[in-house]
Point group: C2
Chain length 451, copies 2
């Protein structure tokens, strides 16, 4: 009889694991279980849908269950929540969300790809109508409906999701205010880089409240009406909460599967959990930071898909390993591209590295070439050896994607010197004779010489 | 007394060497000698000047001799040709080009950065008025003047320079025909990628004559009138010749400085020639191909500047090394960006590698995001280990610059698997969940499994 594989969670990691396993072993009987109404969509595309740049939410879907079954031979059950793994019987207790009906499904191999969810802050008023978090397609659809032209939107927390939403809603002409408890937005980059992002947001009409911890959302008759901060109340029609994320590990915990130091499900390099025949992949699972070696859980779709691929191969009988991640991210904030990889200077110092940084503002193409904008680069490196620890770029257009060069350099353990001697591509429409990454590397080398 | 440094050649390598040495040892007495009228200009910017996208040729100049002396304390003599090194006396015999007056200059350290020049084909009619090669700013200025609107331009040879000119002159509305002796243009990429470039040229009104060796340029009263091929003559007003380049090594040869297998001046990793106190850097000097290990001379400004930096440091008393180059290039052909690094499949096979390739056409950003174009990627790799040997990209906009990721990967000796597991940056406006580079890597891995 064909082996039965159950996959809990139908997005990047789960979809990739299922597809890869099925491709390598077509005789596998694979079923994806998804609590929500959709599988296989681009959560990263939500702000562009909310901004009206992507017309229909269907455009964000890669597969419906029907399409998945007919094209790949993989079944998907939506509206089904996995409740508990029963490893002794190799079965999974499930609930049909709509009816609350319980049932059991047997498995030979089980993959947990339950993803993450928004962290819930300690704040009054979260239950009010008009208060949202954003982590699923259905959230985006409801926000799109609720946010009419002229609505006032309060975004509580200026992280990755908060900025994506500020960009998306700001572009639609809504009145957006971001409340950030720290002195600067977007802790994924260092404060000096965050300032450039803040300027861009302000010049596009987004109001920023920094150093502004929100204690309470206020409302009337159960409907959200404003954000209370200190003695003032800022009226608004909608609130979006983005104070970080946590991995969805309840199913694992309830089933006796251990978590790692990061809070994600503990797995080995092949994605195996402590329970036999049970794998975990994606944002619910722990992985290793390639620079620091520390356990992390990643919120990235890219890492989730890569982990899913590895688990899919192992489920199909191969020996495949996932090396780790760099917490690389890239984001569009109006006309800016913002990207980062590895450690920020702050993270590197907090983790005990002898870290320094070099920062330059170069040009994304030749100065005499039309449409040449600035490209700001920050490199973080270790003393005295010059090993790269991380990098950040803020630039116009697509120059932020050049962070990928640093991703490869960090993964290979390169130094500032290595980076400065790479034979990068140059022609006037595409760059400068010395790439800003290399100018920054040379500045860093001078910095090292002073030590 | 201050050490005297002479630098022969005032572009990328020479300028960088002089500047770096002066910065590290301000007491050095440095003089740059340049046979032509200009120093320190962007030869890569010429087609954009000829195309009218850069208004004044002065925009391509970074330094005039006056500016160089006042800002960096480096002297530059233009119109001076170096004739022979006299190592016994540590002097350089020079000629003032305008007057033919000979004179000698003493040196403590000498840097040869004489660059390259166009190769002269065996072809009748090269002496005719209206026949040009393009390797210096003064060529570009004269072509700009000669090529009036409506002129018919014959480009003989479809290499890097030929394509840059076809793009530049085509954009200005001139009638451009490219004559290429081989079956495909642009031998820097494999034939399947060249076909995409050819399509783009044709759809922008450039006429292509492939498999079309030119034997003779014809003219009347010493003025060019057309290209003769087989029994036909193709009338034209201007001819641009691009049949490759050769390093300028006459000065070295005349002075008893040995050349390497590539035809460039033989140097060690520090840029030292066989003569004591004489260095060479830039396109006249030999270096090492980082994938094949073979000696090459490179036509790249980037490599020239990096070699110049290393030589400048050594001249200032440091111990600095240049590891080598990958022959990375990038070019704009109307709306396309074309880039390459490492070996082509053809080169890899010719050099005895057990090479295969993987090719995919992905997207440069999320399919649902506005303005999403195709991104064609070709990876060349070694069997059975999957080590990357080279890569090529043809894409719209600036996606061709993503070749830099491959540059870092090749330099680090990464395999297809390493590439496919890099934590590259993703968000819908900037890319796809699996970057086309990684999709190609995964296709290559499947290809490897078949062996």
């Amino acid at each position: 009889m064909a082996k039965r594989v159950l996959v809990v969670g139908g997005n990047a990691a789960g979809m990739t694991a299922a597809s890869r396993a099925k491709r390598l072993q077509p005789e596998l009987d694979i079923t994806i279980l998804e609590a929500g109404p959709f599988i296989s969509y681009s959560i990263c595309g939500l702000p562009y849908y909310i901004a009206g740049m992507v017309e229909r939410h269907e455009d964000l879907l890669t597969f419906t269950p029907e399409k998945l079954e007919s094209e790949r031979g993989i079944k998907a059950l939506t509206g089904v929540r996995a409740e508990e793994v029963r490893p002794g019987r190799r079965s999974l207790l499930c609930t049909e969300v709509e009816t609350n009906r319980e049932f059991e499904l047997d498995y030979d191999l089980l993959i947990l790809s339950t993803g993450y969810r928004p962290r819930v802050p300690s704040m009054e008023g979260l239950e009010l109508e008009g208060v949202w978090t954003v982590s699923r397609l259905e959230d985006g659809i409801r926000i799109q409906e609720a946010a009419g032209f002229g609505s006032r939107v309060a975004i509580v927390g200026g992280g990755y999701v908060g900025l994506m939403m500020a960009h998306g809603l700001g572009r639609r002409g809504l009145e957006v205010t971001v409340f950030e408890r720290n002195r600067h937005l977007f802790g994924q980059v260092d404060e000096d880089m965050a300032e450039v992002i803040e300027e861009e947001l302000r010049s596009n009409g987004v109001r920023l409240m920094l150093d502004a911890p929100v204690r309470r959302l206020v409302g009337r008759n159960g409907v959200f009406e404003g954000v209370e901060m200190g003695r003032e109340t800022y009226p608004a029609d909608l609130a979006l909460i983005d104070v970080g994320i946590v991995p969805n590990t309840e199913l694992a915990e309830r089933s006796g599967i251990g978590l790692g130091l990061s809070g994600g499900i503990q797995v080995d390099g092949r994605g195996q959990t402590a329970l036999p025949a049970v794998y975990a992949a994606g944002n619910c699972a722990e992985t290793r930071h390639l620079v620091s070696g520390r356990p992390i859980f990643s919120a990235l779709g890219t890492t989730a898909a890569q982990q899913g691929r590895v688990v899919g191969e192992n489920v199909a009988g191969r020996r495949s390993f996932f090396p780790g991640s760099l917490e690389t991210s890239i984001e569009k904030v109006f006309s800016l591209g913002v990207s980062r990889t590895g450690l920020t200077l702050r993270q590197a110092l907090d983790q005990g590295f002898e870290a320094s940084c070099a920062q330059v503002t170069g040009r994304e193409r030749a100065g005499y070439y039309p449409d040449c904008g600035p490209m700001r680069v920050k490199l973080i490196f270790e003393r005295p050896n010059g090993r790269l620890l991380g990098g950040q770029i803020v630039a116009g257009h697509s120059a932020a994607k050049r962070i990928d060069t640093l991703v490869a350099a960090l993964t290979a353990g390169m130094t500032l010197r290595d980076l400065s001697q790479l034979n990068l591509a140059y022609a006037p429409p595409f760059g400068t004779l010395w790439d800003p990454l290399q100018i920054a590397a040379n500045v860093g080398r001078r910095e090292l010489e002073r030590w």
